[in-house]
């Protein structure tokens, strides 16, 4: 699945042992993916490889993080891996939706790659439909977290210090009070599947998600990436943390081209 970029003498490929894998779920508003774009762009991460997979819709373009003419011509595809060894961080970016019936296979292959590359933990950035919140969730912060039992032991205390809110379980049958509570992440794409599989396979995974709706999701991405930064401290959080993140050049024209002058 993982194909390393050719890097000269390193025939074994990059080593991710002990690294934190940061990745998005393709979810409502694409917030996770936008947040990952901000991380890769701001930390100027180096591409170390890609996923050769038939589970995602194909796409290709030139370098989405280009800053100048010289670095704008590197091809970029739908699932790529970037790394920053100084922070022991490896990032997977997913740029297209899943092909019908292939998301389960992708999750299985991904988790087995996580185990074989010996990543210490996985942090999944995701989002959930804002309109599905219950009365209590409508108040207070729209940000939530989830930890697998193995990671709970390691960092559960830190989440309490940060005063973070854990994602609530909801009744399996709404309206009936004495039913089992289950995890429900509407609009979260593969978030719930990855999380439940990680729990049963003993993988240390954290999910960070934001309630949001479709629309201009750049502010949502900034909120989510700042939330991540409170914990992982990827950049120094100054007075105005949102201005510290570098918007990639590919975010231009998100809402269409310029207007024809003949319109006026």
């Amino acid at each position: 699945m993982f194909i390393p970029c050719d890097r000269g003498g390193d025939s074994a490929g990059p080593d991710f042992k002990g690294f934190t894998l940061l990745m998005p779920a393709v979810s409502v508003g694409n917030v996770g993916q936008l947040a990952i774009d901000l991380v890769i762009s701001t930390l100027d991460m180096t591409k170390v490889g890609y996923f050769y997979t038939d589970c995602l819709v194909p796409m290709v373009g030139n370098n989405p993080y280009a800053t100048a003419e010289e670095n704008s011509t590197e091809l970029s595809i739908n699932a790529e891996v970037y790394s920053l060894p100084s922070k022991k961080l490896v990032v997977l970016q997913i740029r297209s939706p899943f092909i019908k019936n292939k998301y389960r296979l992708f999750c299985e292959t991904l988790l087995s790659w996580v185990k074989s590359s010996k990543c210490a933990r996985v942090v999944l950035l995701s989002s959930s439909h804002a309109y599905q919140r219950d009365d209590e969730q409508l108040l207070g912060t729209p940000l939530r977290y989830l930890l697998t039992p193995d990671l709970e032991k390691a960092v559960g205390g830190r989440m309490k210090e940060l005063n973070w809110k854990e994602m609530e379980k909801v009744a399996a049958y709404p309206g009936i009070s004495d039913t089992d509570k289950v995890l429900h992440i509407p609009g979260g794409g593969i978030t719930k599947l990855l999380f439940t599989e990680s729990c049963s396979e003993g993988i240390q995974m954290a999910v960070l998600l934001k309630f949001c709706s479709e629309g201009d999701n750049i502010p949502d991405a900034l909120v989510l990436v700042n939330y991540l930064n409170e914990w992982l401290q990827l950049i120094k959080s100054e007075v105005n943390p949102s201005s510290q993140w570098k918007i990639p050049s590919s975010w231009r024209l998100l809402f269409g081209n310029g207007l024809p002058p003949a319109l006026f």
Binding site: V28, P58, V60, N101, G189, E214, G258
Partner: protein, 211 residues
């Protein structure tokens, strides 16, 4: 969500994952139906020189030109292909909701087809005209089966395709843009001069050309 006129509309999510599909467990009948559909959607690559139509050894190929879509296929028909210099060597047989191709090599320009031609004077030059639509779930299969039949060392691949001007993202309006125009994407291994400007972000390429 409520629209301007007051009716409630379910907005499609960019998550791309159908909620009901995710929640429902697959029954044995579902699995059987899915397997049957997958079999029906399988792609067959048939090469003409092999008895029975199945390629046995990898095809030695130095240049492979692929024209995807009706416009690109028509370009090759009008300017490159002729029965004197080129011979048909293969065909792709596939079915999806948009089109069906057959194993016949005698096609009309209005048909959906996917044919392979070889230059008679240099049999390592291969050309593919793919006017049919290859669905998302078939693109990877097409790729593996076509490229799986050829020896890829020293192979140069050129992909020709077209996109509507309205899809092109640019600062000015596409109404004032001089069209048609050419843009290119190339791998870093491609060292030759490209005949036109490179495709700028945020524009991307999808479907079979991307695959």
């Amino acid at each position: 969500m409520a629209t301007f006129f007051g009716e409630v509309v379910v907005a499609p999510s960019r998550a791309g994952l159908d909620e009901e599909e995710e929640a429902r467990e697959e029954t044995p009948e579902d699995r059987e139906i899915r397997r049957e559909i997958e079999k029906k959607r399988e792609i067959d690559v048939l090469w003409t020189w092999q008895a029975g139509g199945r390629a046995q050894e990898p095809l030695v190929c130095s240049r492979f030109i692929v024209a995807i879509g009706r416009n690109a296929a028509a370009f090759l028909s009008s300017f490159i292909l002729d029965s004197v210099c080129w011979e048909v060597v293969g065909v792709v047989k596939l079915w999806n909701e948009w089109c069906r191709t057959s194993s016949t090599t005698n096609v009309l320009p209005t048909d959906s087809f996917c044919l392979f031609y070889r230059l008679i004077s240099d049999p390592t030059v291969l050309l593919c005209q793919c006017s049919c639509y290859v669905a998302e779930d078939q693109q990877f299969q097409w790729l593996e089966k076509v490229f799986g039949s050829m020896q890829k060392k020293g192979l140069q691949v050129t992909i020709l395709s077209t996109c509507p001007v309205a899809d092109y993202k640019t600062q000015e309006s596409t109404l004032t843009l001089a069209s048609p125009f050419l843009k290119a994407l190339k791998t870093k291994e491609f060292q030759e001069q490209v005949c036109c400007p490179l495709l700028e972000q945020p524009n991307i390429v999808r479907d079979l050309p991307a695959a």
